[in-house]
Amino acid sequence: MSASTSPGAPWIGRPLRRAEDARFLDGSARYVGDLKRPGMLHGVVLRSDHAHARVRSIDARTALALPGVVAVYTFEDIRRLARPIPLRLGPCPGLERFLQLPLAEGKVRYVGEPLAFLVAEGRYVAEDALELVQVEYEALDPVVDVHAARADRSLLHEALGTNVGSHYTVEKGDVSAAFAGADYTRRETFRCHRQTAAPMETRGLLAEFDAAGRRLRLWGATKVPFYNRRWLAGALDLPEAGVELIEVDVGGSFGVRGELYPEDFLVPFAAMRLGRPVKWIEDRREHFVATNHSREIECELEIACTLDGEIIGLRGRLLADMGAYVRTNGGLVPAKAAQFLPGPYRIPNVGCEVFALLTNKTPVGTYRGPGFYESSFFRERLFDLATADLRLDPAEFRRRNLVTAGEMPYGIENLCPFDADAAYDSGDFVLAFERALAEFDYARVKTLNGTLQDGRLQGVGLGCFVESGGAGPAETARLKVAAGGRIELYTGCSTMGQGHETAMAQIGADSLGLPVEAFSVFHGSTTLVEQGYGTYNSRAMAMGGSAVKLAAENLIAQLLAHVARMHEIEPAALEYSRGAIVRREDHRTLATLAGIAAAAQAGDGQARAAIECSGTFNQTRRTYSYGTNIAHVAVDPETARVEVLRFLAVDDVGRAINPLLVHGQMLGAAVQGIGGTFLDELIYDEQGQLLTGSFADYLLPTATEFPNVEVISLEAVPSTLNPLGVRGAGEGGIIATGAALANAVAHALAPLGVKITELPLSPNKLAQKMREARAAAE
């Protein structure tokens, strides 16, 4: 970290330490669980023990008799207001029929589905009371995998007559002709396992209602507070301006937090009904059944290519396990998995049939790199099976088929029902690929493939990816000149731990020629800017950051006009320079930010109007980041334990506002993905019971497992789609982890005849594969 810190140097691009760190280090940060309001009550959710059952009765009389218990709400209590939780993203045809109500109505469809909301004076009492509620169930046949779902023998939503949530086909080129005429084809079925993001802070909400003012405040919001406010206002029959969603410190999201969930309705509903603040904090056991799952997809994929390795076609069939209901992210995960099956490669003929299927499991949503992690694994694994057949070098095969810089912009056409005519705007995929190979010394390391070194089999694997991010709806920022010429910066973006307070200030600083210390950054309330949106899909810098830049440009124009009016000269005769408005001809300072702020403070109406300004950045086209991951592993042939000897992720982020933060995002994403590939797995039994419902069963990487991870973020090709040139940076590190690791393990175990087509690469699964391979060889 050698960036200059001289005051004149640009702030964008400096690895600045985070301004927000102090409060996290001394314990003064405030997460939703830390908040208290006078007279506050505590809510807990009664959840279904059954995966699939009719609910005959819920008897809460004993619970209500317990001292300290205030209320128990079931579906009957919310019937008048209840509307299904909306589908915000990923509207694959048909999915809108399978939405979830905040409380189950007569039937439960997954273990953990909310049946009742119980409110008491304290959390201990509330949990005592929960055990006293009697629920009578009539068990039904659970549907626990996609094949059972497709068979439609047991129906989750009887009235709809099917478990097929959505079924569609997309195509580019002439797939049948390409496969009919191909020299070589290979088909394989791949499976990606069910995972969840598991942020360290579980979800939580605190609602307070001012009945006289018809005003609701809801703490604990994040991600998309503006969208959620609009829906909540409608659902609770309040004016939108009367609902404030407040984001306090947030303990990680990775996609799962901040969506509308049943509790987002239940907590404010109870607070309004009872006239007292109500807090609900999800416990970890609940989190595993209540918060979105992701990633569970089976994919049959077939490649067609020439004998010397030119890909001419790719076709697949995706079976996505959606869980019991369609939530806010709709069919985004399977749709993106299908759309990005071709990834960064030039493949003229691509087809995919997509089934989104309902099962008696927790509903799914997005998790960092949604659909991209899965499809990268399917594609890259198939590539290495094909190159082994054709005796081609895996790197040479990829090099030959990567879209080149000269082919940009490269249309990926209509492979998604809700993202027409998508295109990669710019980029140099080959450059990132070659950089990764060179850094890794790939040509040398790959000679170790399948060899026994100190008793362990070694393998090296590649994975290339593209990842979409950073697009509309519009995002807004507001700047205000405060006393002393300090700048208040308000953003509609949320932050879940990324460090936006620092990065936004860096953009503001360069835009206004001021030091970052002059900025105070405010985010986290729907009242700060008129129309913000939120943070997801690696969009905060591309959208929110660009809005800051535009707001600064607007502010400068406004200040120039104000000073020109005061001095009765043309604005064109003035220029803005580092906090001052100067006359062009002699560079004489006519006004300063501090001076104009002081005039505004003293009651000058024109000055007051001049010191505050918004900027809105609108871009509906997505940016794409891209890169290559390489893994080198050693596998114990006896225990199947895999050690990651070295893992490298190279990603082009276009431009890094703060390289320290980008590096942190990439490294964290890579380790999260490596852990997800070997450890994390949500396992259900045949009855639809989740077997991995605690941190003792759902394994996450710890500090000891994967210490050999390196990341390189390139700033090779700036995006053309926003004034900062940034591409998304939050997800790139995770996307090809499964792909590269699966290929590395596959190359290590090739001498044993083991074929890798499924994740996770857990020791028990690998050991089983090794036993099967040995048995087959005998």
Binding site: G251, G252, Q665, G668, P701, A703
Partner: protein, 161 residues
């Protein structure tokens, strides 16, 4: 179940005397009764390490012990790590190495690391990794945390020398 007990303990150098329910965890006592909300609850079953505090110098999971068990003890939470109002060497090293993102696991990392360094002022990277292996973090990938602790150890040794 609701029998109350009087406990007296020292928290971050301050004497504290309170009546508590027998079943109240130390974590809830710190957070709810003393408003020391820097101690975080990530799992409430002793697996994630976010609630780690020091009890008589040893790092313990405050979600796994009852407040009554801390009667007479000396407890240090993250709020007690700063020295005379300024961040400690270890805390500053976390900032320096970008060893925190969302910050939720950070208090447990700090209390664990500080207790470890008190016992072993010159740890190897492997020893640091093992010491914090009971503290889950989903943001950083751990590498910056390990670097921060090693760097803090080196600084503390040179200060002591």
């Amino acid at each position: 179940m609701s029998a109350r007990h009087r406990i007296v303990l020292t928290v971050n150098g301050q004497r504290v005397e309170r009546d508590v329910e027998a079943r109240m965890t130390l974590a809830d006592f710190l957070r709810e009764s003393l408003d020391l909300t820097g101690t975080h609850l990530g799992c409430e079953h002793g697996a994630c390490g976010a609630c780690t505090v020091q009890l008589d110098g040893n790092s313990v999971r405050s979600c796994l012990i009852f407040a009554v068990q801390a009667d007479g003890a000396r407890v240090t939470t993250v709020e007690g790590l700063a020295v005379k109002g300024t961040l400690s060497v270890l805390q500053r090293s976390f900032q320096q190495h970008h060893a925190l993102q969302c910050g939720f696991c950070t208090p447990g990392m700090l209390t664990t690391a500080q207790a470890m360094l008190a016992e072993n002022p010159d740890p190897s990277a492997e020893e640091v990794r093992r010491a914090i292996s009971g503290n889950l973090c989903r943001c950083t990938g751990y590498l910056p945390v390990v670097a921060a602790i090693l760097d803090a150890a080196a600084q503390l040794r040179s200060e002591a020398a």
